[in-house]
């Protein structure tokens, strides 16, 4: 463990680990095989949580960006950066798994469908957002600019989510987050999906928290100030602070 920041410092990693284990068992062993799509359907238990938690990450970028613009506290900027990095990774994961699923089930890796195109645009915009963060040397200038872009970029998220509702697409409409109340999904499958979402959310909180701690350590410049830093397994490879 890095420095235990809160009393529950070891609790979160343990819970996330247990939740991931349960989700894996449910998704691979317990949940029944889909009648139509076959084993490929099991990719859904990762694809859908990845996409949802990516939405959550981008919403966090929005909230932290607005908070930075109001408070001018670099804490919020670090939070926005960590959440955006996670969101980019999860969006790429969702697209990659979607392609893996699409080949056996639709028959193609890619097609010009509104959901696929808008999701890819979402990924590109947030990759560019991470680039904007590095355009300025002064951390406050970089934070202000990226906060502005972080607010604008979020406009993509509702477009992605509702693309399958607004337009007639090849991608199926939402099963669980759909407009009508009773999701057309087998209860065991729904539980496996829910476990996946819980596991992904916990892991996401863990990753963002560690990344924020890493950014704080890198941002404060003299890493030796924190005695425990040398032993910390925090990912500090990516140069933070816009250098």
């Amino acid at each position: 463990m890095p420095r235990t920041p809160a009393p529950g410092g070891a609790l979160l990693p343990a819970t996330a680990g247990v939740a991931s284990g349960i989700a894996l068992v449910l998704a691979l062993l317990v949940a029944p095989e889909d009648a139509v799509q076959g084993p490929a359907q099991r990719l859904m238990y990762v694809h859908v949580p990845a996409a949802w938690v990516a939405y959550l990450a981008f919403a966090t970028v929005l909230v932290c960006s607005v908070a930075y613009l109001v408070r001018r506290d670099l804490r919020f900027d670090r939070c926005a950066q960590a959440a955006a990095e996670l969101g980019v990774g999860l969006t790429a994961l969702a697209i990659g798994l979607g392609m893996l699923w699409g080949r056996p089930v639709w028959g193609v890796w890619w097609t010009w469908d509104a959901r696929l195109v808008t999701t890819t645009v979402l990924l590109l915009v947030y990759v560019a957002y991470l680039g904007v963060r590095r355009m300025a040397d002064d951390p406050h200038v970089a934070a202000r600019r990226s906060a502005a872009v972080g607010v604008v970029a979020f406009l993509n998220v509702p477009v992605v989510h509702f693309s399958v509702v607004w337009w007639r697409t090849l991608h199926q409409p939402p099963t669980v987050l759909g407009p009508d109340g009773s999701p057309p999904i087998d209860p065991v499958m729904a539980w496996a999906l829910a476990a996946g979402v819980v596991a992904f959310t916990l892991l996401a909180v863990l990753v963002v928290r560690r990344r924020v701690a890493g950014l704080r350590a890198a941002g404060s410049g003299t890493a030796a100030v924190l005695p425990a830093d040398g032993a910390a397994p925090v990912i500090t490879v990516v140069p933070g602070g816009g250098r």
Binding site: L69, L124, G131, M135, R144, V149, V152
Partner: protein, 226 residues
């Protein structure tokens, strides 16, 4: 922001006068500067010629692809044109002074107006070339779509130009932001010229202008305070 300080005498009184001065200055940059038409119009011409080589020689294929090709070239040209937003101020080193004197909304309006005109000229040049070389046709709806769609493109490009105002780095990044931001204009602008009923596409462009304009106005002041 209260920018009505003592240094105001450099600019004529009234919002319209301020806008006129700013517009004249930026128009000079667009017309004569390195980042203006001098680089953008040859780029568009080369794009139409090379696009024709890639997509041709089937005249039907060229005709179909022409409006989309022009829109793609205009969006790509918006990346260097974004430099016009702060070029005059960077040369005179007056960006900080201007920020203090002119309210951000007025500044955004003036800058976006020049960019809109520059983008419209770029689109017009590309379209004339497409008509001549690619046998393209320009219906009235295509014109209306260009004039409408470029409002939103100009608003977002102005924001990105302000991002670039203080630093020379990161110009390439703009392409990654300007192109997705212009996607609705590209899609609707291309479709409005060819669809049987262009009205839904024109409505999409109005909606796009509304959202792009409102967000540009909302974030622009934060990009100004350096």
């Amino acid at each position: 922001m209260s920018g009505r300080g003592a240094g105001r005498q450099a600019l004529p009184a009234g919002t319209l006068g301020t806008v006129a001065v700013l517009v004249r200055r930026d128009a000079r940059v667009a017309l004569g500067g390195v980042d203006g038409f001098a680089s953008v119009l040859p780029f568009v011409a080369a794009g139409v010629v090379l696009g024709g080589l890639v997509l041709g020689p089937d005249p039907a294929a060229l005709r179909t692809a022409a409006p989309g090709l022009v829109w793609l070239l205009v969006l790509t040209a918006a990346v260097p044109l974004a430099r016009v937003v702060a070029a005059a101020e960077r040369d005179e080193d007056s960006w900080d002074l201007l920020r203090g004197l002119v309210p951000p909304g007025v500044l955004l309006l003036a800058k976006a107006a020049v960019l809109w005109a520059a983008l419209a000229v770029t689109w017009g040049t590309g379209t004339v070339l497409a008509v001549l070389l690619l046998d393209g046709a320009v219906p009235v709806a295509g014109f209306a779509a260009a004039l409408l769609g470029l409002v939103g493109v100009a608003a977002s490009t102005t924001v990105f130009g302000a991002l670039l105002a203080a630093s020379a780095r990161g110009a390439g990044l703009l392409a990654a932001l300007v192109l997705p931001a212009g996607l609705p204009a590209l899609l609707a602008g291309t479709q409005a010229g060819t669809a049987a009923d262009p009205l839904p596409w024109l409505a999409l462009l109005v909606a796009y202008d509304l959202v792009a304009g409102a967000t540009a106005w909302a974030v622009f002041p934060f990009l100004l305070e350096e």
